[in-house]
């Protein structure tokens, strides 16, 4: 191999350093590359480790839950152990009624609060924003306790309403912050243009800002509802459970999460079966809400363009 080597060149400190650095770099190359390969391999292993239980949960619920789904499951009320048949109609009604009441109250209140936060920047708004953030992280059981103290204790009995109260409080800060974010995302010029035309703020909010923020608001609301419906702990302290069909929210009610919780630790196979069926139903409802929120948001976003 022909190379040009200049032996008589003065020793340049930079060339000297280059030589040292390059020899360290090539000497350590194999170690560095192996380290990189191992570390990245570990990431892949962790990915697999994470996927296995998550798929396991979903697959198991589907496999165990589907056999429980029959006509009776959706039309009959829960039966005590030993009595064959029975369904979760009473729990479906309870979850639906409680969810509907909680949503009906939390959405308008949450959105108005979100509007307030989006339009205010002061210290008070900051404090409220902080409170809302902290409230989203508060253990849900403590909110169940609050539902018990505020409604059950004062009315003297457990009721679906107490459950809806607790679930609504859990949903409220989520809706607030999602609403604020969505509203703040509305281009300022829309707002300005309408105000410049002499429109009142309330009109601008109703006709311009809120419609423009709708995709974000709907996503936030549906996610909040999904979260609310899956909550179990607050319901345990507020609605008591009811093995009969009950449409009246001022009375104790049953709910899907309660069925899962109460039946899963029973030593009777048929009750555990019902628990799996209820788990599948709850999971499907929650996933449909989550996926639906994305699809709807995407569709609305596209329509706007």
């Amino acid at each position: 191999m022909m190379t040009t080597l200049t032996f008589d060149a003065p020793a340049d400190p930079i060339l000297e350093r280059r030589r040292r650095i390059q020899s360290v770099a090539s000497a350590s190359l194999r170690r560095r590359k192996n380290y990189s390969r191992v570390a990245i391999g570990v990431c892949w292993v962790f990915l697999a480790v994470a996927i296995v239980p998550l798929i396991g949960v979903v697959a198991y619920v589907v496999i165990k839950g589907l056999p429980a789904w029959n006509a009776d499951f959706f039309t009959q009320v829960t039966e005590p152990e030993g009595i064959p048949g029975g369904g979760v109609w009473n729990a479906i009604v309870g979850t639906a009624v409680i969810g509907a009441i909680a949503t009906a109250v939390a959405v308008p209140v949450g959105l108005l609060c979100g509007l307030f936060l989006a339009e205010s920047d002061g210290r008070i708004a900051g404090a409220i924003r902080f409170t809302a953030d902290v409230m989203t992280g508060v253990p849900s059981i403590t909110i169940g306790i609050f539902g018990y103290i505020a409604i059950v204790k004062n009315t003297g009995h457990y009721s679906g309403l107490a459950g809806a109260f607790a679930i609504g409080i859990i949903m409220l800060p989520v809706i607030m912050r999602a609403g604020e974010t969505a509203i703040r995302g509305v281009p300022f010029h829309l707002n300005e243009a309408a105000l410049a035309l002499g429109a009142r703020r309330a009109t601008v909010a109703r006709r311009v800002v809120v419609p423009a923020a709708m995709p974000g608001i709907i996503t936030g609301v549906l996610l909040a509802v999904a979260r609310g419906l899956g909550e179990t702990a607050p319901l345990l302290l507020t609605i008591f459970g009811n093995q009969y069909l009950q449409w009246n929210p001022t009375k104790p009610m049953e709910a899907l999460p309660l069925v899962i919780y109460n039946y899963s630790s029973q030593p009777y196979a048929d009750l555990v079966q019902v628990a799996w069926g209820a788990a599948l139903l709850l999971m499907v409802v929650v996933l449909v809400l989550s996926i639906g929120s994305r699809v709807l948001a995407a569709v609305l976003q596209r329509e706007k363009r």
Binding site: R32, Y35, S36, A39, I40, V42, C43, W44, V45, F46, L47, A50, P53, L54, G56, V57, V61, V109, L112, C113, F116, A125, I128, T131, D133, M135, G137, V138, P139, I141, T142, I145, F146, Y148, I149, I169, L172, R200, R201, A202, T203, A205, A226, R227, L229, G230, A233, L236, L237, P257, I260, Y261, S264, S265, A279, L282, M283, V286, L287, S290
Partner: protein, 306 residues
């Protein structure tokens, strides 16, 4: 209906005030209801070791420890595995799969915790008793942390269920913040001769640390406050666990298991347990927020003026 501007602002402020009122009502009612326990038992009952309602003893220490221990187990598993998974999803998985896998993870974050509890109790508990616990005992038995019989339910299982439960949340957040580390940072490191791992470890992860910390906080909060999933798999024993395999209880599981029959001082003590839980939860949250704010100031702020 077109409200005048003053009335409109007034309406918004009123509704916001209602929210603040609700939160105040929440905190105050919890304090008021827990007060009898404090006045009968003094403040020290919180750290006493014995929970024995029939003899008027309501020490919360076993449950505080149980809460901390299960959360710690969950985080020890969730931090490395969650970070590794998030790195894989953000940088290693082929582009075509990234979006769909990411969505799947986000959807899993929405699965109700009681479903995880049911799965843990019926599927994982037997596996834990037959395989995992004997294995852990044979490998780590010398530490003395794994004494006692293999029971399936207990601290280990509760920790694992919490890990599985918080994992999607943590991965979803971590993946998002890792993926938004600017590409010019990645290229800058690559162009200096960094290996793939060096790029991830020295540039991407530090660049996302604020968001990663946020995800960790959220996961910690969920683990601390989780009630039903833990109550189903922890074995609910009111004694301080002497082994990681022992049945134990956490503050939330204590509340939910004893609430039905409790009256008088015991009920008040349960409200007190809720108050302690609330303080821990809010404390962790506030601490993390402060931490996030200080690291955010540390550097991520405006790097270059374009």
């Amino acid at each position: 209906m077109a409200l005048p501007n003053g009335a409109y602002r007034g309406l918004l402020a009123t509704v916001a005030a209602v929210f603040v009122g609700l939160v105040l009502w929440f905190v105050i009612s919890l304090i008021v209801q827990a007060k009898p326990a404090f006045s009968t038992l003094g403040f020290s009952w919180i750290v006493q070791k014995t929970w024995d309602p029939t003899h008027g003893k309501f020490g919360l220490l076993p449950f505080i420890l149980g809460t901390i221990e299960t959360t710690a187990i969950a985080l020890v598993l969730a931090v490395p595995i969650g970070l590794g998974t998030a790195l894989a999803l953000a940088y290693l998985v082929p582009h075509r799969l990234r979006a769909s896998l990411g969505t799947a993870v986000e959807l899993l974050a929405a699965v109700p915790s009681v479903v995880y509890g049911l799965w843990g109790l019926i599927v994982l508990a037997p596996l834990c008793r037959e395989y995992l616990e004997p294995f852990l005992t044979s490998v780590f038995g010398w530490t003395g942390l794994f004494n006692g019989p293999d029971q399936g339910v207990g601290l280990v299982l509760a920790g694992i269920i919490l890990f599985v439960m918080v994992l999607p949340t943590m991965v979803a957040i971590s993946r998002d913040v890792l993926a938004v580390v600017p590409n010019d940072q990645v290229e800058g490191a690559m162009a200096l001769g960094a290996t793939r791992w060096q790029v991830l470890r020295k540039v991407v992860v530090p660049g996302a640390r604020t968001g990663l910390l946020g995800g960790l906080t959220l996961a910690t909060g969920r683990a601390l406050g989780e009630t039903v999933a833990v109550a189903l798999v922890i074995g609910n024993s009111p004694y301080i666990a002497h082994s990681i395999k022992s049945p134990a209880a956490t503050l939330p599981s204590l509340i939910v298991n004893n609430f039905g029959e409790a009256t008088g001082t015991e009920l008040s003590a349960l409200f007190g347990a809720g108050l302690v839980l609330l303080v821990i939860g809010v404390g962790v949250n506030a601490m993390a927020r402060a931490l996030v704010r200080s690291t955010a100031r540390g550097g991520a702020a405006s790097v270059a003026v374009a």
